[in-house]
Amino acid sequence: MSAAKGSYYLPDPSPWPVVTSVGLFFLALGFIFLINSVDGGQWLMLAGVLTIVYMMIRWFGQVIRESEGGAYDDQVDRSFRWSMSWFIFSEIMFFAAFFGALFYARQFAGPWLDNTELLWPGFDFNWPSAGPEGPAAATPSTPPAGPNQFSPMGAWGIPAINTAILLSSGFTVTMAHWGIQKDNRGQLVTWLFLTIVLAIVFVGLQAYEYVHAYTELGLTLGTGIYGATFFMLTGFHGFHVTVGTIMLSVILGRSIKGHFTSGHHFGFEGVAWYWHFVDVVWLGLFIFVYWL
C-alpha cells in the first residue's frame, strides 16, 4: 500500500489495466476478422475474452481485498460514488441514441417515406413497419399467415410479466439494502438471492421470446426498422441485465462470505444503482417498444 502521507488511498502500480487493453485489442481485432470471414477471428476473440476474464478476477479480487482491508476511507468512497453515477449517466446516453433512432424513424422517417411518391409510390407507413421493401406487419404475437409477413411483439404477454418481474426485483434489491443497513445478514442474503432468481427468470423469458420471434413470428434483426430497433434496444438491455446479474451474483457471494458492513458497502450499492438503471430503461422499453 502506498499512501504517501495523506489518508487518500493511492494504489501501487498495477499491471491489470494494460492487460485489459491487450485483451480488448484481440477481442476487437478478432471480432472484425470474424464478421469479415477472415480465418482465425474466433480464436483471437477467445484469447481476448480469456485475458479479460482473467484480468477481472485478479483486478477485482485485489480491489475487494483492499476494500475489506480497510484501505478505502470516506473520501475514496465518494470518488467511487461520483464515478459510478456518471458512468450510469453515460449508459443512459447510450440507450438514448437508440431510443432517438426509434422516435426519429416513427415520427419523421416513416411519414416522409409515406408522403413522397418518388421511390415507393403507394407505400403507407403504419407502425410497426419494416419499410417499403420489408415484410408486412400482421397481428401482434400471433404467427403470421403469409410468407412475406412478420408479426410484431405484443405488450401484454411475456413483456408485461417481465415488467412485473423487474419491478419486483427493484423492490427485492432494496429490501436487501435495508438488510445490510441494519447489519441483518440473513435479510441481505435472502433478498439478494431472490433478486438474482428474478433476474434469471427475466433473462430466460427474454430468451424464450427471442426464439419465439425468430422461429414463429418471422421477426428478426433484419425485419426492417421495426426488427432493428426492437432487437437493438431489447438486446442491449438484455445484455445489461445479464451483466447486472453477474454483478449481483458476485455481491451475493461476498455477502455470504461476510463482506460489507452497515456503514461500508459501496460494492453493493453500486450494483444496486446499476440494477435500478436497467429497471428504468426497461420501463422505457416496455412503453415505447412494446406498448405504444
Binding site: S79, S90, F94
Partner: protein, 521 residues
C-alpha cells in the same frame, strides 16, 4: 504502510514504470507524448493531401487513397491528437491546481490511457487491409460507410475504444474535481482550466455514448442485416447524420473548451492582472455547453429539413456566439491596461484568441442557413474549422506546453527558439488556411482530389504554407526534447505573474505533489 518519505519518489524503473503507473504525472506525460506522436502521424497525412492538391489533375495518389487520407487525418487529429493532449494537461495540472494528491481513481486513469495505443493501432492497421482504410470522411455518413471493405469496421472498433477511454477519463476527472479539492478550494475559486475541464468532462459523458450508439448501428447495418439507415427497410440515412451530429457538435466544444481554460490561465499571468469577469467566464462556459446540444443540425442545412428545423437550428447556433463573445471580451479586458510581457506562451494565447475569433466569425456566416447552402461542403468549411480547432485548440496546446514545461521538467525552454516556433507556426498556419476561405467562397468542394484550373494559385499558396507548418513542428519537437534534457533551472514560480497552487511547489514538481492537502484561503 511504509514510511511516507521513503515512498515519495518510489516507482518501478524502465518500461514497467510506464506500463503499470498509477501516477497522474506519469500518465499525463504518456498522454502528451501519445498525442504528440499522433500529431505527426496525422500531419504526415495532411502533407499527402496538400501535395496532391498542389496542382490540378491527379498527381500522386489514387482518389480512393486520397479519401482515406482525409478521413484518417481527421480521426487521428481529433481523437488521437487534440483530445488526448488535453487529457494529458488535465492529468498533470488538475491535481496540482486543486491541491490533490493524485487523480481520484489512479488505476482507472492508467487504463484510460492504455486504451489509446491499441485503438490507434487498429486505426492505422485499417490502412493496410484489403480495400484500405475508412474513406467516407470522418463523419462516416451512410450509405457510403455501409459499403466498402473492412477498413470501416476497424474505424468503428477504434471509435469504440477511444470513446471508452474518454468516458473513463471523464468520470475520473469529475470525481477528482468534485471530491479531491483542498480545504478552502471552493468551486468558484477553482482555476478556470479546472472549470472548463469539469464542463468538458460532462460534455464527453453526454456525447460520446451517442457516437458509440451511432457507429454500433452502422456496424449492424453493415454486417447484421439491420435497416437503421436504409430507406427500403423503413430507416433513413439522414437519421445517422442527426445522431452523429448530436455527438459531433458537442465534440467540437470538447475540443475547444479546455483551450479556453488554457487561455484563461496564460493571459492573466502575462498581463499581471486577475482574469476579468471570472464568474461570467464560468457561466459562459456552462451556457456554451448547454447550447452545444441544441444546434447540431447546422451541419445538415442542405440535407432537406423542414423549414421550422432550419430556422430553429439557425437561431440556436447564432446564440452560441453570445457566450463565446463574452469570453473573448473578457480575455481582452484582462489584457486592458495590464503590464504585459510577451513570452512565448503569451504569444500563443493572444494569437489563439485572435485567430479563433476569425473562426468564430466564419462560423457565424455558416450559421446563416441560406448562406450555408452556398458554403456547405466547400473549402470555406475547411477554413472555418481549422481556424477554430488549429488556432483555438492546437495553439492553446502549444502555449500550454511552453507555459507548463518549466514546471514539468524544471528547465526553462529556449525563449528565442520558442518565439521562432511561434512565428513560423502562426504565419504558415495563416498562409495555409486563409486562402481556403476564398477557395470555398469561389466554390471549391472539400474532400475531392482534383479541382478546376481557376483554383490553382490559392491551392499552391495553401500547400506551401502547409509544408512549412508541418516542418516547423520538428522545431517544436526539438525544443521540447532540449528542455527535458537541460536548460536554465526554473524557479518555483516560473513566471512573475503566476498565481495558483501549482506555482507554489518546486520545479520540477515532485512525484506526489500534495500528500497533505494545502489550505486555500
Amino acid at each position: 504502510m511504509a514510511t511516507a518519505a521513503a515512498h515519495h519518489e518510489e516507482h518501478p524503473g524502465g518500461l514497467t514504470r510506464w506500463l503499470f503507473t498509477t501516477n497522474h504525472k506519469d500518465i499525463g506525460t504518456l498522454y502528451l507524448w501519445f498525442a504528440f506522436i499522433m500529431f505527426f502521424v496525422g500531419g504526415a497525412m495532411a502533407m499527402v493531401i496538400r501535395a496532391e492538391l498542389f496542382q490540378p489533375g491527379m498527381q500522386m495518389v489514387e482518389p480512393h487513397f486520397f479519401n482515406q487520407m482525409t478521413t484518417v487525418h481527421a480521426l487521428v487529429m481529433i481523437f488521437g491528437g487534440v483530445m488526448p493532449a488535453f487529457v494529458g494537461l488535465a492529468n498533470w495540472q488538475i491535481p496540482m491546481m486543486i491541491g490533490a494528491p493524485d487523480m481520484a481513481l489512479p488505476r482507472m486513469n492508467n487504463w484510460s490511457f492504455w486504451l489509446l495505443p491499441p485503438a490507434a493501432t487498429l486505426l492505422i492497421m485499417s490502412l493496410f487491409m484489403p480495400g484500405g482504410g475508412p474513406a467516407a470522411g470522418w463523419t462516416i455518413y451512410p450509405p457510403l460507410s455501409t459499403q466498402g471493405g473492412m477498413g470501416m469496421d476497424f474505424a468503428i472498433l477504434t471509435i469504440h475504444m477511444l470513446g471508452f477511454s474518454s468516458i473513463l477519463g471523464s468520470m475520473n476527472i469529475i470525481a477528482t474535481i468534485l471530491n479531491m479539492r483542498a480545504p478552502g478550494m471552493t468551486l468558484m475559486k477553482m482555476p478556470l482550466f479546472v472549470w472548463t475541464w469539469l464542463i468538458t468532462a460532462f460534455l464527453l459523458l453526454a456525447a460520446i455514448p451517442v457516437l458509440a450508439g451511432a457507429v454500433t448501428m452502422l456496424l449492424t447495418d453493415r454486417h447484421f442485416g439491420t435497416s437503421f439507415f436504409d430507406a427500403a427497410g423503413g430507416g433513413d440515412p439522414v437519421m445517422f447524420q442527426h445522431v452523429f451530429w448530436f455527438f459531433g457538435h458537442p465534440e467540437v466544444y470538447i475540443l475547444v473548451l479546455p483551450a479556453f481554460g488554457v487561455f484563461s490561465q496564460i493571459i492573466p499571468t502575462f498581463a499581471r492582472k486577475p482574469l476579468f469577469g471570472y464568474s461570467s467566464m464560468v457561466f459562459a462556459t456552462a451556457t456554451i455547453a448547454f447550447l452545444s446540444f441544441i444546434v447540431w443540425a447546422h451541419h445538415m442545412y442542405t440535407v432537406g429539413m423542414p423549414m421550422a428545423g432550419e430556422l430553429f437550428f439557425m437561431y440556436s447556433t447564432m446564440l452560441i456566439a453570445v457566450p463565446t463573445g463574452v469570453k473573448v471580451f473578457n480575455w481582452i479586458a484582462t489584457m486592458w491596461r495590464g503590464s504585459m510581457t510577451f513570452e512565448t506562451p503569451m504569444l500563443y494565447a493572444i494569437a489563439g484568441v485572435f485567430l479563433f475569433t476569425i473562426g468564430g466569425l466564419s462560423g457565424l456566416m455558416l450559421a446563416i442557413t441560406p448562406a450555408d447552402f452556398q458554403y456547405h461542403d466547400t473549402y470555406f468549411v475547411v477554413a472555418h474549422f481549422h481556424y477554430v480547432i488549429f488556432a483555438g485548440s492546437v495553439l492553446a496546446l502549444m502555449g500550454a506546453a511552453y507555459f507548463w514545461l518549466p514546471k514539468w521538467t524544471g528547465h526553462m525552454y529556449n525563449e528565442r527558439l520558442g518565439k521562432l516556433h511561434f512565428w513560423l507556426t502562426t504565419i504558415s498556419f495563416n498562409v495555409t488556411f486563409f486562402p481556403q476561405h476564398f477557395l470555398g467562397l469561389a466554390g471549391m468542394p472539400r474532400r475531392i482530389p482534383d479541382y478546376a484550373l481557376q483554383f490553382t494559385e490559392f491551392n499552391q499558396i495553401s500547400s506551401i504554407g502547409a509544408f512549412v507548418l508541418g516542418l516547423s513542428q520538428l522545431l517544436f519537437l526539438y525544443i521540447v526534447v532540449q528542455t527535458i534534457k537541460g536548460g536554465k533551472q526554473a524557479t518555483d514560480r516560473v513566471w512573475e505573474g503566476a498565481e495558483g497552487l501549482e506555482w507554489t511547489v518546486p520545479s520540477p514538481a515532485p512525484y506526489h505533489t500534495f500528500a497533505t492537502a494545502p489550505q486555500v484561503k
